[in-house]
């Protein structure tokens, strides 16, 4: 370097006009960190990742195994209702069915009740688009032009509230849980609010403003598949009615896949259920309103506890274990190859 710079005008002298600046940037001499793939860094990378993955994997598997989950497919068990629903003239008649199950052990802690749907393509693009956020924000409840097609208005021009395919297809089975205790049947107390995201409940969904809810929805009609208008979704609780109904909000948060579960109710831990669900016989009483058999859909009801890592899905734990094992093994293989090559190299050097 020195010999070369001596050719250039020395500092302090008047620089000729066209001489490029001697800045680190222009001379491409910016100081830099030059990481390299050394054996040490590669091996530590593999072994550390391996160890971390194995640890996390074990934790995840243990956590997932500690989850108690009961999943009952009631599409077959309620086949009568299912057939009944296939006839669309019965749309406004009720159909009930019961599903029994027995808990051998207590389920302790918070218990959550989900409904699960299979083969229901909530992630279809046109389905997903078919909603109006402006309407759900309560700003323009009589929205005419929106992306809600084909469920935006009736033929006579009356707008649907809420509009769109998502809202129209809202899951409307009602599921109640009964506990048989000493020949007496007690309804398990369930919470129907507090199941949705805070942001959804408080920001994304708002009821239109008016002196009361039904007048706010005046001039609109319920979606065709609904049994009752939006303002009657929960007559008991003003904070859970209309667009801010938790069941509605949860349904409107469409799932990414065709098989999904949505939170339906939470166990209210009072009296007998203060510790969770005690062992014994239980019955789901289902008001079967939601037809799925036409498109070979299936419906489940799920009771589950949760842990820090979520539910009982073991995928992440197993994936971590497998990756961790693979990384560690790869680390050993790399070590082996490296040692062998080094031996060979020193051997050649000795020659």
């Amino acid at each position: 370097m020195k010999t070369k710079t001596s050719l250039l005008p020395k500092e302090g002298e008047a620089q000729p006009s066209r001489c490029p600046d001697n800045s680190a940037f222009k001379q491409q001499r910016l100081p830099a960190w030059k990481p390299q793939l050394t054996i040490a860094s590669v091996l530590s990378c593999f072994f550390l990742t391996g160890a971390f993955c194995l640890t996390v994997g074990v934790c995840l598997v243990l956590a997932a195994n500690s989850v108690r989950e009961i999943q009952i497919d009631y599409s077959d068990k309620c086949s009568d209702c299912s057939k009944f629903r296939e006839n669309s003239s019965n749309w406004n008649k009720e159909c009930h069915c019961s599903v029994n199950f027995t808990l051998q052990e207590d389920i302790l802690g918070d218990v959550f009740m989900y409904y699960g749907l299979q083969n229901f393509y909530q992630n279809h693009r046109r389905y997903m688009m078919s909603r109006s956020n402006a309407q759900l924000l309560g700003r323009n409840v009589k929205i005419q032009r929106s992306s809600c097609a084909p469920f935006s208005t009736y033929r006579n021009g009356t707008p649907m509230a809420p509009c769109g395919a998502i809202a129209n297809s809202m899951f409307n089975d009602t599921i109640d849980l009964f506990y048989s205790r000493n020949s007496s049947v007690i309804q398990v107390p369930l919470l129907k609010t507090g199941n949705s995201w805070w942001t959804d409940k408080n920001v994304k969904f708002r009821n239109p403003e008016s002196y009361n809810l039904s007048s706010a929805f005046a001039g609109t009609a319920r979606p065709p598949y609904w049994h009752k208008p939006a303002y009657l979704l929960d007559e008991e609780d003003e904070r859970n009615n209309g667009f801010v109904n938790d069941d509605f909000i949860i349904w409107m948060r469409v799932s990414a896949f065709a098989t999904f579960r949505n939170l339906y109710r939470r166990l209210r831990r009072v009296r007998h259920f203060a510790e969770g669900l005690p062992a014994g016989n239980y019955t789901f009483r289902i008001s079967y309103n939601f037809p799925v058999s036409r498109f070979k859909g299936r419906k489940h009801v799920i009771l589950s506890t949760v842990v820090w890592s979520g539910g009982s899905n073991p995928f992440l734990g197993i994936a971590y274990l497998v990756s961790g094992t693979a990384a560690t093994l790869a680390g050993f293989v790399i070590t082996g190859i490296h040692l062998k090559l080094r031996k060979k190299k020193t051997y050649f050097q000795k020659q």
Partner: protein, 978 residues
């Protein structure tokens, strides 16, 4: 002055012109002799009348310079092909998804119409599939890197600026920085395989300099230090002080003080030596101001000798047809010039016969050693031996030598000779023969005086540069208008040719068959198999038509050189011989083409371009190089000395040939590596990004549902990933410039196009596909049938989208981190900045306020807050990153360990070398071991003797006596500015 000229239409023939001038009813023939072509200067002529016949693009010179073509790099062409491939790939993906949609709508969608009726107008599954094809074209179009072209241009522009800014390519003496005149060819600089170089002005400075001499058995010119060790001459070496001589040329530099001592001590042989140099020549002096002598020499060698004599105190001051005025050590002496026995190619010597003021008759002779040694008096035998030794030494250093000798003449003999000379010179028949007989007669029994050594000054650092470039596996072809002798001499002195070569073939046949034979014989010697019919390439010739053949590289069984003259080249460039020439020439390490016309230069470049899959570079300084500069993939102009013609048509320009190594080995190599890394990463990131949609199609009823938020799709290429890769491709260096120059082997992968080609592209694609699989299926598996830690559902679309896009962004950021081997502040800022900007923008866009203001645009409200607080989301993100990146790390490391490429090995060596203290500066003197006697210092044309003796050129009234004749093949054509 009214007249009319009729002449031929503009053409590119430099040696022909026909026309007539009609002036006042009289017709004069105009031929090439009467033409001054653009590019020449007239000597010894103050003024002349002229008429412009052709101007601008019509001049013969411009007609010779060929067409300007739009240059593009091979990566450009490859990129275009790849984009087409990607389009095909896109169409294939869309087709698969469209068919999938048709099947899905038929099997499931049809029944799902309860909840989601088909769109208006869609009445069958196949029609839906057709529509979905186009929807997917829109969604997956991000796989086609539209922003690629823009980014590529930005990178090239940036890398061009580095060339402009490089102080190590700035020449302070004439204040010329390097200049990238074309900003779209940078990465091609890293792939050069053939360099076509001009000689004069490019390799050499066209300055002859009196460097050494041997006088009476004593060698002068080397400098020794106190301990008797020979030392290098450099700028700091003390020059000899010529202040005792007011007429000395201040530019002349000599370092050996002992010679001056000898002159001052009135050493007789030394004085005679310089007296000879001041008398025996055909130089014309010009003294416009008192004491300001300018010599006009026919050949720069002669000028150098006379200048040397001038500085040592024997100043050639004036000449008339009969006299020569010399100021000898301050004392003006007038010698009578009695005869000039002029130079020609057979004699290879010239003599003068002069009568000194004291009345002594002397013959002074200088000439090529081989010739002169035959004419010496036997008494000089001892001196001859010593001088030969010195000559060998001089030749070994690549100097051009001349032997000088003298002879005292008897008055009677000379009178007799003079009479016969007069008779002979007026003889009508066989004048030439008679004259040369007479010359032979008098030039014998000469007394040896010594020898001169003249350096045809190379540009600084030329041999080192050539050596470095040769190590980088670059083949150098010198294309020059010079004579074969001069060209070869320069070849030796810049280390292009040397004695280690098995052979240097000289092709000088004057018929097509001769040339063919010479070429075939050369090839037979280099690779005997290649002549046989069974040779693969020969078989290939048989099969395919000649025009599309790409000749693969052939390995000769040794190091060879090839010298071909322009005349033979004309034949060799004809149809059938082309292939022979290319095959033979490309097997040689060095090719020198001498006496070539500008057009031939271009043809040679074109030839290599046509038959070799190689990137060519042409470098030159004069107008006669324009055509080859334009033809080659990359044209480099040497700026500063001659006119601007070459620079104006070049792609890069700088002031010194030696900067070429920095341009190629540092800038070119970096540009190439950066471009390749950029392309690799760019394709990878787009594949990883887009293919996730493809996999999601299988789970979303092929409904053209995107995985990511549409804002993310918009910003991904524009904001989140553009700067880190740009930073890498502007700043990345695998090794710094010093190591790049020390290990020219690092240049080879670029020539072989190893860093980015179709195979590499496919690998990028596969890596992209792998990453996209991980990026889709890990979040999918992690979300499937599970819930958040607070029991709420997790698998909603928006959470999944956020998770997938976060995974993707972190993975591609880590990937660019892996690819970046040189983390400057800017890189750190760009990479970390992009990641933080992603999170900042995401949280902003998903905030309450944005939703309340732009409800329709930001439906993802709250997703970031709700999802990124979940431990299992982060665990899934971490797992995706690990699975995407760890295999890459392992693969890269193992590849370097198990199958190290040559450049891996060099990098390893550098790594080891870095641990040790830095090696001493790579300054080494190239000692040539050549024993070859180099060219004698004469111009290769007939001398001026006759002209001087006739006195014609001394008449101030004769304005038309131009001595500068124009010949396309002559060196002189080059010297002049345009």
């Amino acid at each position: 002055f009214t007249g009319e000229i009729r002449c031929e239409a503009p053409n590119n023939k430099l040696d022909k012109f026909t026309g007539t001038l009609t002036l006042r009813g009289e017709k004069y023939a105009l031929d090439n002799e009467k033409m001054l072509l653009r590019g020449c200067t007239i000597r010894n002529t103050e003024w002349c009348f002229g008429l412009v016949i052709y101007a601008g693009p019509d001049t013969k010179l411009m007609q010779n310079s060929g067409k300007t073509t739009f240059k593009r790099t091979s990566i450009d062409r490859l990129m275009n092909v790849l984009v087409l491939v990607i389009f095909a790939f896109l169409a294939l993906m869309c087709l698969i998804l469209a068919i999938g949609n048709g099947i899905w709508e038929h099997d499931k969608g049809y029944y799902f119409q309860v909840y989601l009726p088909w769109a208006e107008g869609v009445n069958s599954a196949s029609y839906s599939g057709f529509l979905m094809f186009w929807s997917y074209v829109i969604i997956l179009n991000t796989v086609v890197p539209i922003s690629l072209y823009v980014s590529v241009e930005i990178i090239r522009l940036g890398n061009s600026f580095y060339i402009d800014w490089d102080r190590k390519m700035y020449y302070p003496l004439n204040d010329t920085p390097a200049q990238a005149r074309t900003t779209t060819l940078n990465e091609e600089l890293g792939q050069i395989k053939y360099i076509f170089s001009d000689k004069t002005g490019t390799l050499t400075q066209n300055i002859m300099c009196f460097n050494k001499c041997s006088i009476n058995g004593k060698s002068y010119g080397d400098v020794y230090d106190m301990s008797g060790q020979r030392i290098e001459v450099n700028e700091n070496t003390e020059k000899v002080d010529f202040s005792y001589n007011p007429l000395a040329d201040p530019k002349f530099a000599f370092y050996d003080h002992s010679l001056v001592e000898a002159v001052k001590l009135n050493d007789v042989p030394t004085h005679r030596f310089f007296r000879l140099l001041s008398l025996c020549h055909t130089v014309m002096p010009e003294e416009k101001k008192e004491g300001n002598l300018v010599y006009q020499a026919q050949s720069p060698d002669e000028g150098a000798l006379v200048t040397a004599a001038r500085n040592f105190g024997f100043v050639f001051r004036a000449r008339t047809p009969e006299t020569i005025t010399v100021v000898e050590m301050g004392e003006t002496k007038i010698y009578k010039l009695l005869a000039i026995l002029d130079f020609n190619n057979v004699r290879k010597r010239m003599s003068v016969i002069v009568r000194s003021p004291e009345g002594d008759l002397t013959l002074y002779c200088k000439g090529a050693d081989t010739i002169l040694y035959e004419l010496l008096h036997p008494s000089c035998n001892f001196l001859k031996g010593e001088t030969t030794e010195h000559l060998n030494e001089f030749a070994g250093e690549g100097l051009r030598t001349l032997v000088v000798a003298y002879k005292s003449l008897e008055e009677d003999y000379f009178q007799d000779w003079s009479r016969r000379h007069h008779e002979a010179s007026t003889a009508l028949e066989g004048r030439e023969d008679k004259l040369s007989e007479l010359y032979e007669e008098i030039e014998k029994d000469l007394m040896l005086l010594g020898a001169t050594a003249i350096e045809d000054k190379l540009q600084d650092g030329v041999p080192q540069t050539i050596e470095t470039l040769a190590k980088a596996n670059i083949k150098i072809w010198v294309l020059t208008g010079d004579k074969q002798e001069t060209a070869m001499n320069i070849g030796y002195s810049c280390n292009l040719l040397n004695d280690d070569m098995e052979d240097v073939f000289i092709i000088e046949g004057s018929t097509s068959d001769d040339v063919l034979n010479e070429l075939r014989n050369a090839r037979k010697k280099m690779k005997p198999d290649s002549i046989l019919d069974s040779d693969e390439i020969n078989i290939q010739f048989e099969k395919s038509s000649k025009n599309q053949i790409i000749i693969p590289d052939e390995q000769a069984n040794g190091v060879y050189g090839l010298v071909i003259t322009g005349h033979s080249l004309a034949y060799a460039l004809e149809g059938n011989l082309e292939l022979e020439l290319v095959r033979t020439a490309c097997m040689c390490k060095v090719v020198i083409c001498c006496r070539v016309t500008p057009l031939q230069k271009a043809q040679v470049v074109e030839l290599v371009k046509k038959y070799k899959k190689a990137v060519t570079l042409a470098i030159g300084d004069g107008a006669n190089d324009v055509s080859m500069i334009k033809t080659a993939h990359i044209g480099v102009g040497i700026s500063g000395q001659e006119g601007m013609q070459a620079v104006l048509s070049s792609d890069f320009s700088f002031a010194q040939f030696r900067y070429l190594q920095r341009l190629l080995l540092v800038h070119g190599r970096w540009s190439y590596i950066r471009m390749c890394k950029f392309l690799k990463y760019f394709f990878y990131k787009n594949f990883a990004f887009t293919l996730v949609h493809f996999w999601y199609g299988f789970f979303s009823g092929f409904s053209a549902q995107t995985v990511y938020d549409e804002w993310f799709i918009t910003l991904y290429n524009l904001v989140y990933t553009s700067l880190p890769v740009l930073g890498m491709s502007l700043f990345d260096q695998d090794v710094d410039d010093r190591w790049s120059m020390l290990f020219p082997q690092l240049y080879v992968p670029g020539q072989q196009n190893l860093y980015f080609n179709k195979v590499v592209f496919v690998k990028c694609m596969l890596q992209g596909i792998y990453s996209s699989l991980i990026l889709f299926f890990i979040p999918y598996g992690a979300m499937y049938n599970t819930m958040r830690s607070d029991g709420k559902a997790i698998a909603d679309y928006q959470s999944f989208a956020l998770m997938a896009q976060t995974c993707l962004l972190i993975v591609v950021s880590v990937q660019i981190g892996l690819d970046t081997s040189y983390w400057t502040v800017v890189n750190q800022f760009f990479i970390w900045g992009s990641l933080s900007v992603y999170f900042a923008i995401t949280f902003t866009m998903y905030s309450d306020g944005m939703y309340l203001i732009f409800t329709a645009s930001f439906p993802f409200i709250g997703t970031a807050r709700n999802t990124l607080s979940q431990p299992n989301v982060w665990l899934a993100i971490f797992l995706s990153i690990t699975l995407c990146v760890l295999p890459v790390i392992g693969f890269r490391f193992l590849k370097a360990q198990l199958k190290p490429t040559p450049s891996d090995k060099v990098l390893l060596k550098i790594k080891e070398a870095k641990k040790r203290p830095p090696p001493p500066s790579p300054k080494r003197r190239l000692r040539r071991t050549s024993t070859r006697r180099s060219g004698y210092a004469f111009s290769h044309q007939h001398g001026f003797g006759a002209l001087i003796m006739s006195g014609r050129n001394m008449r101030p009234k004769s304005p038309f006596a131009t001595t500068g004749t124009f010949s396309p093949n002559s060196d002189k054509y080059k010297h002049k500015g345009l």
